[in-house]
């Protein structure tokens, strides 16, 4: 709902921009606007699904919250799907959207090397919005960390049950 309202606001801005050239200096880069108008991978996975890792970063008080989720193929360690939900400015939304695009099909270790500078460059973010790209990088890392923590917990749980089974069997 917030995004729709924000989109309306953005569209309003662009309509009024045409007559005066001076306002154009502060425009969002077209890639950012593209991610806003054509959102990719917006959505949610079931966070209790063992193949899903959820990264939640930011704080509403700061004006930015990003939730980035990845779906991992247990066998290969590859990220087969990703989705996001972001509360924040256009740059934050675009940064997290780009992040979901870039992690798809990559191995978990590989995505940890995605740098905020690459995201910022891709979207031509102005200096004041570099923090959004860093948050997106953090979201990716948090999602991977969450998945690995869940996996470790599951494996510890499985190890315990096999031990008890052995004892019963004996």
């Amino acid at each position: 709902m917030l995004r729709a309202a924000g989109r309306r606001f953005l569209r309003l801005g662009s309509e009024h921009r045409a007559p005066t050239a001076a306002v154009a200096a502060r425009a969002y880069h077209e890639r950012v606007v593209d991610h806003y108008d054509n959102p990719r991978n917006v959505g949610s996975f079931d966070k209790n699904d063992p193949t899903v890792g959820t990264g939640l970063v930011g704080a509403p008080a700061c004006g930015d919250v990003m939730k980035l989720q990845i779906k991992v193929d247990d066998a290969t360690g590859k990220i087969v799907d990703a989705c996001f939900k972001t509360f924040g400015c256009g740059s934050a939304i675009a940064s997290s959207s780009v992040a979901t695009e870039w992690v798809k099909g990559k191995h978990m270790e590989e995505v940890l090397s995605i740098k905020n500078t690459e995201i910022a460059k891709h979207l031509s973010l102005p200096p004041v919005k570099l923090h959004c790209s860093m948050l997106a990088e953090d979201a990716i890392k948090a999602a991977v960390k969450d998945y690995e923590a869940k996996k470790a917990k599951l494996e510890a749980g499985n190890a315990e049950t096999t031990q008890t089974e052995k004892v019963d069997g004996a």
Binding site: L56, A59, P60, A61, V65, V128, L130, H131
Partner: protein, 194 residues
Amino acid sequence: MASRFAPRLLLQRLSTLRRARRTSSILVASEAPADVGGGGLFSPPGPRSALGPRCVSRVSFSTRPSALDERQNPAAIDYRSLMSEEEFHTLADETIHDLLEKFEEYGDAIQVDGYEVDYGNHVLTLKLGSLGTYVINKQTPNRQIWLSSPVSGPARFDWDSTAKTWVYRRTKAALLQLLEGEVGQLCGEPISLR
């Protein structure tokens, strides 16, 4: 109709008056809005934080990772371990004003095309023409100073009360040293910010 809104407006006005009247001396008793953090993800800051002193203990912000560490799930801010907003504003404003003065003096001394220092709404912008732009601002909910550097990208500095400096936890870099190093190198003339 007016009477329904008046109490809240009055409260807001009181809180801004209180903030304006206080001197710059560090408080011994600090206000901490102990109930706000409990709301979880979506408790807004602002007027509520001025609602009466709940905590009287003064907390100094050390370098050990606190609830504010961004690596952990940071969605809910633990206000009990934060320094007071008053103290933060005093410290941060002092740092930023100091930087503003020094950057202005520096600009007079060196020759860099497009050198411009801008300060508005507590945001300090240092333009170095084609060499890039620095943006330094306060991030009050986190009690941090945020920096955007054309050299090292974004960074978030917390106040280290033992070292009396602003430190970026991930790299252990100190704000003033970082700026001195980068700006000095970019512009070719050493600058002292400490």
